[in-house]
Amino acid sequence: MKTLHYKLVLLTCIGFIISPFNAFAGPPIIELEIKDHLFYPSIIEIPANKKIKLLIKNLDPTPEEFESYELNREKVIAGNRKAVIFIGPLAPGEYPFFGEFYPKTAQGKIVAIE
C-alpha cells in the first residue's frame, strides 16, 4: 500500500514538473507584430483564466522591450527577431502593455474576456 501511494505521489510530481514542456497540451498561441514601433494588433482579445503563449515578432531593425506592469512582464525583443512570452491565466479585464523603448508610440492592451 505504502509503495503504491509513494509511486502515485512521484508520478504526480513528475507530471507536474514536465507538464510545461508537454507539447500536446500547449497553450493557445497569439501572434503580435512590432513595426515602426507600433504593435499590431494593438488590442488583443484573449480568453480569461487561460494560459496564453504570446509570440512577438519584431519587424523593426531596432530592439524593443515588451513591458506591462499589469501583466508583470518585461522582455527585450531584438531587431528582426521573434520572442515568446507566456501570460496568464488572467482574470477578466484590461491589461495595457507598451514598448518600453518607444513608449510614445508602441502601446496596446490585452483584453481578457470570459
Binding site: K35, D36, L38, Y40, K104, T105
Partner: protein, 431 residues
Amino acid sequence: MSSIRTFLILSVVATLVLFNFIAAIQGYSSSMKEAELLFDEKMLNTAKLIANLHVEGNASNIEHTSTIAFQLWKDNKIIAASNNAPDTPIADFQPGYGYINFDRHRWRSLGYYDRKRNVWIALAERDDIRSLLAENVILKSVYPILLGIPLVSLLIWLIIGYGLKPLRQLANELSNKKNNDLTPIAAKESTKELKQVTTSINSLLQRLDTTLEREKLFTADAAHELRTPISALKIQLHNIKQEIPTNSDALKQLNDGVNRMHHLIEQLLLLYRTTPEELSKDFSEIDLYTLTQNIIAEHYSGFEKKQQNIELIGIHSKINGNTFGLTALIQNLLNNANKYTPKGGDIRITLEETESKYSLRVEDSGPGIPIEARDQVFERFYRHKNQQAIPGCGLGLTIVKHIADLHGATIKIENSSFTSGCAITIEFRRQ
C-alpha cells in the same frame, strides 16, 4: 582612508544633482502637460474650423497633410476625408480625445459633433510630432541645469578645497614637526574651529615639555645622588675583601653587582649631561684621529685582556664638535666592540673623508646585530635577547645616537667586513 574633502564634494554634488534633476523632471512634466492642453485646444479649433468650412454634398477627398488627418461622417458615411485617413473611423463617435494607431503612426484623436450640420468630425494629429515639438522647446529649459552641474561641481571643489586649507596647513605643520620639537605651533590662518585645536595642541605640547624636563632633571639628580652611596659601597666592599680574604662566590657576585650599578649610573649621568644646551655651548675643532688614538691608548688594557687585534686606519680630519661628547661617543662604541667581540677577535676603526662628509666607522668580529633589531638598538635600555649574558645596561648606543644627533651626524649599522660582526658608521657633515 576616507577624506573629508572627498566626502564633502561628493555628498554636496550628489545632493545638488538629485534635487536639481528631480526639479527639472517636475518642471518638464508640468510644462509638457500645459503643452498637451494647448495642442488639444488647437485641435478642437481646427475641428470647428473644418466643420464650418465644409461644403455640404462635397464628398471628394481633401489634400492630405502628413501631420494631421480628418474624416467627416454623416449618417455613418464618410463625406470628406484627408488622403491619409483610413476608411474606418479615426475617432469615437462621442466628443472627446483619445489615441489611435493607423498609417504606421500613433495619433491623438478628437471626436467633435457639429449639431447644426449633423456631422461628426474625426480629427487626428500625429502624436510623436506633437510631443517632439513640445519636448524640443521644453528640454531647452533643462539644458542650463545639465550644463550647470559640471560648472557648479568645479566651483564646489574649489570652495571646499579653499575652506579646508587651514586644516591642511595645520596637518602639514604637525607632520613636519620633529620628534623632539615641542615648541608651540602657529596657526597661519586662524579660524574659530582651528583656534581651539591649536590652543589644545599647544597646551598639550607645553605640558609634555614640562614633564619631560622634570623627568630629565629627576633622572640626572637621582643618578648624581646615587653616586655617593655607590662609592661608599665600593670602599666597604674593598674593606671586607681585606678583612676576610676568601674566594667567596657571593662576595664576587656582590662585587660584580656593585660594578654594574656603578656603570649604569655613570651612563645615565652621561646621557643627561649631554643635553643640547650643555653640549652646544663649547664646540671646538677636534681632530677625530688623535681623539680616537688617545681613547684606544687609555683603554688598551681591556683589549689586551681579551687578546683582540685593534687597528686604526685613516687620516687626521678636523670636525667641529664637543670634546666631552665625542669622547663619550667613541668610548661607548669601542666599549661595545670590546664587550661583544670574542677573545682573539678583530676590531677596526676607520676614519674617512669625502667631499661632503667625514665618517667614523667601528667594525668588529662579534655576533653582529640582526637586521630586524637595528632600529631598536638605539632605544633606551634595549638589549637584544641573544646578548643578555654579557653585562650592560642598554644605554651605550642610546648615548651614541644622542651625541651624534647633537652633532647633526647620522648613524648607520651594517655588516662588518669581517666574517661576522657589525659596522657602525657615524657620518659628520662637513661645514
